[in-house]
Each structure stands twice: as structure tokens, then as C-alpha cells.
């Protein structure tokens, strides 16, 4: 029993390392070859877990070989356009100037119901409103609406709003996040002064965010009033 627990722990660490090495991706965002590698890795990991007569090294080596292959292929794909096309395929324009390209739909084996469903997912209910719709290699549909159907933006009416700054969490659960202090160029002393001004103790802060213009938002812990 103990050996199974240890084997499981080893494989868990190997799998986590392998997936981390491959990089952050959601299942839905994966390219076909990445999806294949992820599925095969999970299958391979299960074999030494189920059969304790299998040397664990076999599973570990196979997992790492797949991870290496994946890293190598994505590196080559980054450098070579034709290789990328070969491995992942190509995006296909499905709608052009409000007209559906039926040949393209046949090529990607997409039914009109699939297309309408994907458009609805993008809040588009009329095909005529679409300037371009592109089926991406990961299966997502990117839609560009006709100019008269697009949302009005400040630049359309020649407005110049202030550029937004990103508020970053600087105190979490009463602890100062040093990386954010460095990013925002704020010393801990300045931060404590800011808290003093707001009449909050550091240990009473549940979350505090701060942006580049030093605008702070503080959420106190609920049990300390």
C-alpha cells in the first residue's frame, strides 16, 4: 500500500512538472498536437499506477519524452510557418461580408446549426451583421461585425479618456505582497502610512489593491469591525 502511495506521489510530481514545462494552456485553447500529448500523458501515467509490476521509470521516461517532443515541436512551429500549418492546420474564413462560404464550411465539416450556435455564443444573432467570421484552429469562432453594427467607442466620437491603470493586490490577508510593492514602486513604510491615514491596521486588511496613481481600495476582514 505504501509503495502505491509513493508511486502515486512520484507520478503526480512528474506530471505536474511535465505540464508546467509545456506551459499554461486551457484544454479549449490547445492546438491539436498539444491536446494529443496531454491525453496520451494522462493515459501513460495511469499504467504504472494501476500495475505496480511496471517499473515507474518507464512511465516517467515516456511522459518526459512526450513533453520534450511537445516543446521541440512548438519551438519549430514558432520558427516555421509551414510546419505550424502542418501541425495545427489553418484558420478558415467562414463568413465574408455577411455571406457564408459554403465550400469552407464543407471543408471544415461544419453544419449551419454549428455556425449559428457559435455566432450566438458571440452575441451575434444575424448573419448579415457579420463582416468576417473566422474559424480558428482551436475551434473558436472569431467574429468581426460590420462597422455600423459595432459598439460605439470613445475614439469614434473623438473622446480621449484617461488611460486605465491596473489595480494590483498589495495586501492579502494582512500580509504585504512584496512583488507588488516593487512593481508599483511603493515602500512598506509608505504603505503603512496609507493604512494609518485610512485608520486600518495591517492585520485587519483582507484585501487591498493599489494602482499606479496610488488609488487604493481596502476590504477589511469581516470578523474585525
Amino acid at each position: 500500500m505504501l509503495s502505491i502511495i509513493i508511486r502515486t506521489l512520484i507520478l503526480y510530481i512528474v506530471l505536474t512538472l511535465g505540464i508546467r514545462l509545456m506551459g499554461k494552456r486551457q484544454i479549449g485553447d490547445m492546438q491539436p498536437n498539444e491536446l494529443v500529448v496531454t491525453l496520451v500523458i494522462s493515459e501513460i501515467a495511469a499504467i504504472p499506477l494501476q500495475d505496480s509490476n511496471q517499473p515507474i521509470l518507464n512511465g516517467v521516461c515516456s511522459i518526459f519524452v512526450l513533453v520534450i517532443l511537445e516543446i521541440l515541436l512548438s519551438f519549430i512551429a514558432m520558427k516555421s510557418m509551414s510546419f505550424r500549418k502542418l501541425m495545427s492546420g489553418q484558420s478558415v474564413i467562414i463568413i465574408k461580408n455577411g455571406v457564408i462560404d459554403q465550400n469552407a464550411m464543407k471543408k471544415v465539416r461544419m453544419t449551419i446549426l454549428d455556425l449559428v450556435e457559435l455566432l450566438r455564443g458571440q452575441d451575434v444573432f444575424e448573419i448579415e451583421d457579420v463582416e468576417f467570421a473566422v474559424l480558428e484552429v482551436n475551434g473558436d469562432l472569431s467574429v468581426m461585425l460590420k462597422s455600423q453594427k459595432q459598439t460605439l467607442t470613445p475614439s469614434d466620437i473623438e473622446l480621449k479618456p484617461k488611460s486605465a491603470t491596473l489595480p494590483l493586490p498589495i495586501i492579502s490577508d494582512g500580509k504585504i505582497i512584496k512583488d507588488t510593492c516593487k512593481n508599483l514602486n511603493v515602500t512598506q513604510k509608505e504603505l503603512l502610512l496609507l493604512l494609518e491615514r485610512e485608520r486600518v491596521k495591517l492585520e485587519d486588511v483582507f484585501l487591498m489593491t493599489l494602482d499606479k496613481e496610488k488609488k487604493a481600495t481596502i476590504i477589511r476582514k469581516s470578523d474585525k469591525k
Binding site: N53, Q54, C61, F64, I68, L72
Partner: protein
């Protein structure tokens, strides 16, 4: 680029494990075969085959733990069982069974070598 370097390092480690594992398995099988041959010679001479068989058994028991890192545990257990039986029958005059077990050990050792070496048979 960092990932590519990490992948390269892992590839080197895997290659090193593969080659050192292969060399180790070959060495153990060569030594086991040598001990088995001396056990058979001793049996033929009616000298002290049980001592040679014990030597083989002790050697295999010592190496089995390390071998289990690279080889399928079922195969190793099968060889261990055959060596144990060989050790028992080396003390008797039942030559038919002794030779049968020595043949089994030889075949299993050869199979282990074949399973763990790089050839068309192990790839396919």
C-alpha cells in the same frame, strides 16, 4: 528558450538513464549466465553444484532491487523463482529437472536482455 534548455537537460538525463540501465542489465545477465554455467559444470562433475547455485541465488537477490528500476517486475520474479528451484534441484540427483530449470533460467535471462535492448523486436 528556457523551456528548450530544460527539455534538452531532461533529454540528456533520459538518455543517460537509458544507456546506464542497458549497460547494467547486460552486465548482470552476463554475470548470471557465467554463474549458471559454472553451476552446470559443477553438476556434471558431481562436485559442489549447490555452492555455485547458492552463489547465483545470492547474486540475483542482490541485483534484483536495482534491476527492478529498469525491468518489468514480473519477469524478474519469474527468474528468481527459476533460480530458487535450480538451487533446490542442484542438491538432488534428479538431473532431468535440474537441466530443465537451468534451461529455463538461461531462456528467461536471454528474454530479459532482449526485452531491454534496443532492437526491432522491442520497438514493435
Amino acid at each position: 528558450m528556457k523551456r528548450l534548455i530544460a527539455a534538452g537537460v531532461i533529454a540528456v538525463i533520459i538518455a543517460a538513464i537509458h544507456f546506464s540501465g542497458n549497460i547494467y542489465i547486460k552486465k548482470v545477465i552476463k554475470e548470471s549466465n557465467h554463474l549458471l554455467e559454472s553451476c552446470i559444470t559443477e553438476y556434471k562433475k558431481s562436485a559442489n553444484p549447490e555452492v555455485a547455485a547458492k552463489k547465483l541465488k545470492n547474486y540475483w537477490d542482490k541485483q534484483e532491487d536495482y534491476l527492478s528500476v529498469f525491468a518489468h517486475h514480473d519477469n524478474l520474479d519469474e527468474i528468481e523463482r527459476a533460480i530458487n528451484s535450480l538451487s533446490v534441484y542442484s542438491q538432488t540427483e534428479n538431473s532431468e529437472i535440474f537441466y530443465e530449470y537451468s534451461g529455463t533460467v538461461k531462456t528467461l535471462l536471454h528474454q530479459l536482455l532482449e526485452d531491454n535492448s534496443f532492437n526491432m523486436h522491442s520497438i514493435l
